[in-house]
Symmetry: C2
Subunit: 413 residues, 2 copies
C-alpha cells in the first residue's frame, strides 16, 4: 500500500464529465489499496476569466484582493471533485489551502510556502476518507489568502507530498509525459520514461511547460518522486527523480527552445572595472530578468562588447536603460535584436562526457546555422541563433544526438 | 459621523458596471464623514450556477462540500468590489466570513451564527480603510466553511452591524423599500417609510421577500435599525425599527399573500386525547413545516375535523403521512386541497384596536370571497381562501384599510 498524491490540472477538471472521470481514476487508485490525496487546479479558463473581470475594473488591481479572487477557482473544482467521488460511493471531503495548513509568506500572487502542517489531511486519511485539496493557495500567518503563482497547484501537490512523506506525486495534465523535444517541431520526439530533477528544471525553464519550475525545485529538495502523466489515457508517463547512474549514460536527454528572447548589445564600451555591474544593476532595478550574458575582452584592452538576452516583452524597456547607462560611460552604440531564439541541449551525462559542445556546434554549422551567442552550464549548452532557424536547429540537434523514436541508441561521445 | 453597514444584494453587484456603481455609492457615504463597512452577495445567478454544477454531478451532494462550493460566489464579488473602491482612490480590503470571525454552528447550508469577533474589521476601520465582507458565510469552530442559507448575506450584514454597534444597517436591493402590498397586484401600493421588526417579520415570512426572515429576527434582538432601499436610485427606502407609539396608531400596515399553500383535512377523526400530537409529530418527523392548524371540537364530542396547511411542494408527502396516521385511529377520510392561498393583514396597531378582524371578514364577504380557514396572532390575521380570489382579496383589503397612495387616512376602527 502506497500513499499517492494525484494532482489534476485545469484541462483535467475542465468540465463536469472530466471531473467525473477524475473521480473514477482516484477511486481506481484507492481500490488498489493505496491512500490517495487529490489536488486540483481551477477548471480551465476559470482563472483567466476572473483575471479578466478584475482587469475590466482596474488595470492594476491590488494583489491581496486578486489572491482572494483567484483562490475561488480551485475551491470550486475541489468541492465539485469531492462531490463526484462521494457520488461513486466513496467518502471524500474538500479542503482549502488554509484548512490543510499551507502557510506562506505574504508575497501576494507569488507567495512562497513556508510550512505545511497537514494535520487534517492525515486525520482524514486515517479515517479512510479521500481528501481533495484546492491547489494554488495558502494563507499567511495573519490569515490572509495567498496564491502561489501560475502553475502553483503543481507546487501544492509536491509540497503536500513532501509534508506527508508520500511515495510519489502524480501530476495529471493534457500531455502524457515529458518529451525529448516539442513534438510539434519534431514528429518523432520520444517520451522520456525517466528524467532527473535538474534536467526537468532546464527543460521546464526553457519552454517545455509541463511542470511548474518551483515545484520541481521543491521536489528536488525534498526528494519527492514525481510522475507526469495524462488524465486522458492510461499511459505510464515520465518519472522525475533524483539522478542515478543509469541517467549519466545518456549524454543528452532533450532539446529545448525559447523564441521569447531579445538580444541587446552595447558596442565598444570603455573597458573599465564596474561597467558590467553598473549596467546589470540598472536592468535588475527595472525588474527585468536577464538570461544569458556574454562579454568579450577587447583585443586592445580598451573597449568591450557586452551582449545579453531578456524576454522579448521587456526588450524596449531594457534597451532604454542600456542606452542611458552606456551614455554615462561612453560607447559606440547599443543594438537591439529581436529576431533571435535560444536552442539548448540538456543532459546530466554531459558532466561525465566530453565533446558534446563541439558536436552541437558542428551540427549547427553543417546546416548553415550561425551561432550568435553561446552559454553553458553543467548540464546544458545553449546557443542563440537567428529565429528563422529555430525549428531546423531543434530538428538537426534532436537527430544528431539520436533522441528520436525507434532509432534510439546510447550516444557515446 | 456614523458607522454604517451597507449590504448589496445579487442584482446590485450583478455586473461589473453595477459593482462600479456600488463602489461610488460607498465612497459617497464615506466622503460624508461616515465609516462604512460593505457586505456583498454573490453576483446574481452565480449561486444558482454553482448549485446547477453540483446537481449535474450528484442529486444529493454533501452539504459540507456544497458550502465550500457556494461560499466562492461572495468571495469573488467581495474582491471585485474592493478592487473597484481602490480604483476610485480609496483604500479597501475584502474579507471572508472567517477573516471577520463569523463563527457558526455546523449545520451546513443553513448554519446559525454563534459569535462574531469582528477584530479585523475594527482594526481596518481604525486605519481609514473600507472593509468589504463576503456575505452568506462563516466557519465552524473546527474551521470548516459554512453558509447561512438563502438570503444569508442580509444576516451577515445585520450581525456585523450588531457586533460593531453600527448606527444602522442599509440593505440595498432591487426594490426601493417595503410596500403595503405587492405592487404587481395593487398598483397604488404605497412604500412604507417605517415599519416595526414584528410587522416586517410577518410580511417577510408571508411572501414579501425583501429581507431574509432570520436577519430581521437578529435585528430585533440586537435592536439594529435596518434600512431597505434600492441601489438603483437615491430614494430613501423603508426603515425597519423597534415599535414606537406612532406605529400603534396605524392599525394595518400591509397586506400579504402566499399562494404556495396546500390544505389537508382529516375528516371525522375519533376525538380522543393525543390525536393531534400523534399526527403532527409524524408530519414534523418528515421535516415538513406546518403553517396553520385548525381543529374544531365536534358537536357530539366523538369526532373532529383537523385541517392544516403545508407548503405546496410538500403536500403529497404530507397527505401520505396523514393517511397512514389516521388509518391507525379511524377517520372518515383525508382530503387534500391545493387551490388555496393565504391572505393576511399585518399591523402592530391591532394590539390596541378592536374590530379589525370583523372588518376583514366583512370585506371579503362583501366581495363574495368565502373564508376556508382563519388564524390569528397578535399583529396578524390570516384567511385561507380559494386561490382564484387571491388578487381580489388583496385588493379589496388594501382598499378597505386605506393603505393605498394618495387617499391614505388613519384607520381608526
Amino acid at each position: 500500500m502506497a500513499l499517492v498524491i494525484q494532482k489534476y490540472g485545469g484541462t483535467s477538471v475542465g468540465s463536469l464529465d472530466r471531473i467525473k472521470a477524475v473521480a473514477e481514476r482516484v477511486i481506481e487508485t484507492k481500490k488498489k489499496g493505496n491512500d490517495v490525496v487529490v489536488v486540483v487546479s481551477a477548471m480551465s479558463g476559470e482563472t483567466d476569466k476572473l483575471i479578466g473581470l478584475a482587469n475590466q475594473i482596474s488595470q492594476n488591481p491590488d494583489e491581496r484582493e486578486m489572491d482572494l479572487l483567484l483562490s475561488s477557482g480551485e475551491r470550486i473544482s475541489a468541492a465539485l471533485t469531492a462531490i463526484a467521488i462521494c457520488e461513486l460511493g466513496f467518502k471524500s471531503v474538500s479542503f482549502t489551502g488554509r484548512q490543510v495548513g499551507i502557510i506562506t509568506n505574504d508575497s501576494h500572487t507569488k507567495a512562497k510556502i513556508e510550512k505545511i502542517t497537514g494535520e487534517r489531511v492525515r486525520n482524514t486519511l486515517a479515517k479512510g476518507i479521500i481528501p481533495v485539496i484546492a491547489g494554488f493557495q495558502g494563507v499567511t500567518e495573519s490569515s490572509d489568502v495567498t496564491t502561489l503563482g501560475r502553475g502553483g497547484s503543481d507546487l501544492t501537490a509536491v509540497a503536500v507530498a513532501a509534508a506527508l512523506g508520500a511515495d510519489f506525486c502524480e501530476i495529471y495534465t493534457d500531455v502524457d509525459g515529458v518529451y525529448t523535444t516539442d513534438p510539434n517541431v519534431v514528429p518523432n520526439a520520444r517520451k522520456l520514461s525517466k528524467i532527473s530533477y535538474d534536467e526537468m528544471l532546464e527543460l521546464a525553464s526553457l519552454g517545455a511547460k509541463v511542470l511548474q519550475t518551483r515545484s520541481v525545485e521543491f521536489a528536488k529538495i525534498y526528494n519527492v518522486p514525481v510522475v507526469v502523466r495524462s488524465s486522458f489515457s492510461n499511459n505510464p508517463g515520465t518519472l522525475v527523480v533524483k539522478e542515478d547512474k543509469e541517467m549519466e549514460k545518456v549524454v543528452v536527454s532533450g532539446v529545448a527552445y525559447d523564441k521569447n528572447q531579445a538580444k541587446i548589445t552595447a558596442i565598444a564600451v570603455h573597458d573599465k572595472p564596474g561597467i558590467a555591474a553598473k549596467l546589470f544593476n540598472a536592468v535588475a532595478g527595472a525588474n527585468i530578468v536577464v538570461d544569458m550574458i556574454v562579454q568579450n575582452i577587447s583585443s586592445d584592452g580598451k573597449a568591450t562588447d557586452i551582449s545579453f538576452t531578456v524576454p522579448k516583452t521587456e526588450s524596449k524597456k531594457a534597451l532604454k536603460i542600456t542606452e542611458e547607462t552606456v551614455a554615462e560611460i561612453g560607447a559606440k552604440g547599443v543594438v537591439l535584436r529581436e529576431d533571435i531564439a535560444k536552442v539548448s541541449i540538456i543532459g546530466v551525462g554531459m558532466r561525465t562526457h566530453s565533446g558534446v559542445a563541439a558536436k552541437m556546434f558542428e551540427t549547427l554549422a553543417k546546416h548553415g546555422i550561425n551561432i550568435i551567442m553561446i552559454s553553458t552550464s553543467e548540464i546544458k549548452i545553449s546557443c542563440v541563433v537567428d529565429s528563422k532557424y529555430t525549428e531546423l536547429a531543434v530538428r538537426v540537434l534532436h537527430d544528431a544526438f539520436e533522441l528520436g523514436e525507434r532509432k534510439r541508441k546510447r550516444t557515446k561521445k
